[in-house]
């Protein structure tokens, strides 16, 4: 008989098909939806996160594990009472206006998702207004911006200023990208900076604690 522990194992292995099959089986058996998520899907992903940090697992494997987890969650989600869905927090991500480089932002998204965050990715080439609109719509606790160029990174300041003007100062603003440094983050009034995807998770954790 399949168990919730097996579900964790399939997530760790990144086996999307088996994760889905077992999730369905558990639902059919009448397992508690929150238990499937917390002790099965997320528990597996937590192991993945630790192994990645220890250098035992690598990005593509984290990616498929996250994919397995989120597909499982999608199946359980309709069964959960609104508001009870576990989440470490909601983060909105985007690449600033005039910048089409997004691999770094994508990596941050994967790492956050695999750490239990709900991630809203609004894509590339996003003007300050687009960020504001999305923040209003999705109500995240954290808003993250990426830029690869020393020219496009200038848009970060505009966005943060516009957020304040719009009364969204309670949302934490974080920034990242090759030319970004802590000094720059301070200068534009950001709440935080992380040099890579793994530390972006630590940053979000500390901002929300």
């Amino acid at each position: 008989m399949a168990t919730i522990e097996d579900l964790s194992k399939y997530v760790i292995k990144g086996n999307v098909a088996k994760t889905k099959k077992l999730t369905q089986a558990l639902i059919d058996e009448g397992a508690a939806p929150l238990e499937i998520i917390n002790q099965g899907l997320i528990a597996g992903m937590n192991v993945v996160g630790v192994r990645f940090k220890n250098g035992e697992m690598f990005v593509p494997e984290v990616m498929v594990a996250a994919k397995a987890m989120s597909q499982g969650i999608e199946m359980v989600e309709p069964l959960i009472v609104e508001g009870e869905m576990p989440s470490a927090g909601k983060v909105l991500l985007g690449t600033v206006k005039g910048d089409l480089h997004d691999i770094g932002k994508n990596l941050v998204g994967i790492m956050l998702e695999s750490s239990g965050y709900t991630v809203i990715d609004i894509g590339i080439d996003k003007a300050p207004e687009a960020f504001i609109e999305a923040i209003k719509e999705h109500q995240p606790q954290i808003m993250g911006m990426s830029a690869l160029l020393t020219t496009t990174m200038l848009h970060m300041k505009d966005t943060i200023e516009l957020m304040k003007e719009e009364g969204l100062g309670n949302v934490k603003a974080i920034v990242g990208g090759a030319p970004i440094s802590q000094d720059f983050a301070d200068e534009v009034g950001a709440d935080g900076f992380a040099p890579d995807a793994a530390s972006a998770v630590d940053l979000c954790n500390s901002l929300l604690s």
Binding site: G14, V64, L100, I124, S199
Partner: protein
């Protein structure tokens, strides 16, 4: 992932299974070979060993005192008769290294008069323990294929130092050993030790796990002792390396081509004598070359000419189908710094690309004077990088990834693709001590240079790696052989 369902084939298609790199063309190799044959026939060589003179004369050489001129037909016969391949085994007799065509294997260097103490970093004379440590390190490193001494131990009887070296290596690694021999007496004891490990001389001949290293004296001179060693090895049918040491502009012409003529003439004498003593004797030929750096009064081992002429020699030996022995991985730097890294990498890359079969010399600092285990560990990483490059790029339908490129679409990402998951481990080279940390992580873990990280690896290997042991009775037999040999001195 394929883009078509057809079972089509493709004709007339040549691929590089590995990278291709060549210095001398076939015609150039032939020209140097012909010139070396002419040199042996016209100038000849000094043969200072009586038995060798007799053997050569009987075979048809023109012997005039110690000067022996060799008819081209005879030298050519020897080059063709010598086997094109030798397999070296591990200590347990498992076939390990295919010393043939362009298979490349790497190992440490040995002629150092000093070592850097692995604990203190202090530069001092080598002791037997240092050889043992080198054995352990070689045994543990994935990309180091064979073991050599780490200098000559100064805490044992000088006249039997070779035996102690051999014992220290035998007991600390199962990898094949290249064993230098100072004289025939020690060679006999080493052979006895080898027989003790293998079980019998016949087993040793079938599955040789060590090879004698015999230095030619260079510039067409072959001393009494050197040739006695060749005759000894050939008579016993165990593989040996016959290599020459030449200095451009000093013991050889300043031109690389001229130096190669001398080098080839030198090693062909060893090949010929070996084949005359016992037809089919396995022999590995080679050379170590450097320039005369008059400004500094030293013989540099990090100079590009070391790799330049070494590669030329390998090209020549390949054209003759004689297994090759070469030199790489040493530096003229006195310490572990960027110079050490670049000189070590430069030579190891080129000798690997050239397809030299046995490449020794890794871990020698200070133009060969000082052995460093830290440098050896760094060399292991360089071999990893070099091998990744030499392996080239595999091009086939699935690796071309046409379907994947279309599935991802412009602006997409390959991170989550099945194809990525399937290939990323095998297509990438994975560093062990090279750092790819961002500056924040690098600083947080102590801002260590590669030299520091490698030194830590040396410590961890010495403390944790346990090489497979020899059985107690073999160990006892080895001791007995050494004691007997020392008593006879």
């Amino acid at each position: 992932m394929n883009t078509t369902r057809s079972n089509f084939t493709r004709a007339n298609f040549e691929v590089n299974q590995t990278i291709h790199w060549k210095m001398l063309s076939d015609d150039q190799c032939e020209e140097i070979y012909m010139t070396a044959l002419e040199l042996l026939e016209r100038t000849g060589a000094e043969i200072l060993n009586k038995e060798a003179q007799e053997i050569l004369e009987k075979a048809g050489c023109w012997v005039d005192g110690t000067r022996v001129r060799i008819p081209s037909a005879l030298a050519e016969w020897a080059a063709k008769t010598a086997p094109s391949r030798v397999t070296l085994c591990d200590r347990k007799g498992n076939r390990a290294l295919r010393v043939e065509t362009t298979y490349s294997y790497y190992g440490p260097g040995q002629r150092n008069s000093f070592v850097l103490d692995p604990q203190t970093g202090e530069r001092r004379k080598p002791i037997k323990e240092d050889v043992a440590s080198a054995g352990v390190i070689c045994d543990a490193l994935k990309n180091i294929d064979f073991a050599l001494s780490n200098g000559y131990p100064t805490d044992v009887n000088e006249a039997s130092a070779d035996l102690h070296v051999f014992e220290a290596l035998l007991t600390n690694t199962t990898k094949p050993i290249i064993q230098y021999i100072h004289d025939v007496k020690q060679a006999q004891a080493i052979l006895d030790m080898g027989v003790a490990v293998a079980g019998s001389l016949r087993e040793l001949q079938k599955n040789p796990f060590f090879v004698f290293l015999i230095d030619a004296d260079g510039t067409l001179v072959h001393s009494d002792e050197t040739l006695a060693k060749v005759i000894f090895a050939a008579k016993n049918g165990v593989p040996f390396i016959y290599h020459t040491n030449l200095i451009l502009g000093d013991t050889a012409p300043a031109t690389p081509a001229g130096t190669l003529v001398v080098a080839l003439a030198d090693v062909l004498v060893g090949v010929l004598l070996g084949q005359l003593v016992r037809q089919g004797t396995p022999i590995i030929a080679g050379g170590i070359f450097t320039i005369d750096d008059q400004e500094n009064g030293i013989l540099p081992w990090g100079a590009p000419e070391v790799s330049l002429v070494g590669t030329g020699m390998t090209n020549l030996l390949r054209s003759l189908r004689i297994p090759s022995f070469g030199f790489a991985g040493a530096s003229d730097s006195k310490i572990s710094d960027a110079q050490m890294g670049l000189e070590e990498a430069f030579s190891m890359l080129h000798m690997g690309l050239s397809g030299t079969n046995l490449i020794h010399g890794c871990g020698l600092l200070e133009y060969g004077l000082t052995g460093s285990l830290v440098m050896l560990v760094i060399g292991d990483e360089i071999v990893g990088m070099t091998r990744k490059i030499i392996n080239g790029i595999e091009v086939n339908e699935e690796r071309l990834a046409r379907g994947v490129i279309d599935a991802v679409q412009p602006g997409g990402t390959y991170l989550g693709e099945e194809h990525t998951l399937k290939y990323f481990r095998d297509e990438f080279w994975w560093p062990t001590i090279m750092s790819r940390d961002r500056i924040k992580d690098w600083t947080e873990t102590g801002s260590k240079s590669l030299g520091k990280r490698a030194a830590e690896r040396v410590q961890s290997i010495l403390q944790t790696h346990k090489p497979e042991k020899l059985s107690d009775d073999v160990v006892a037999k080895l001791k007995e052989i050494i004691e007997k040999a020392e008593a006879a001195l």
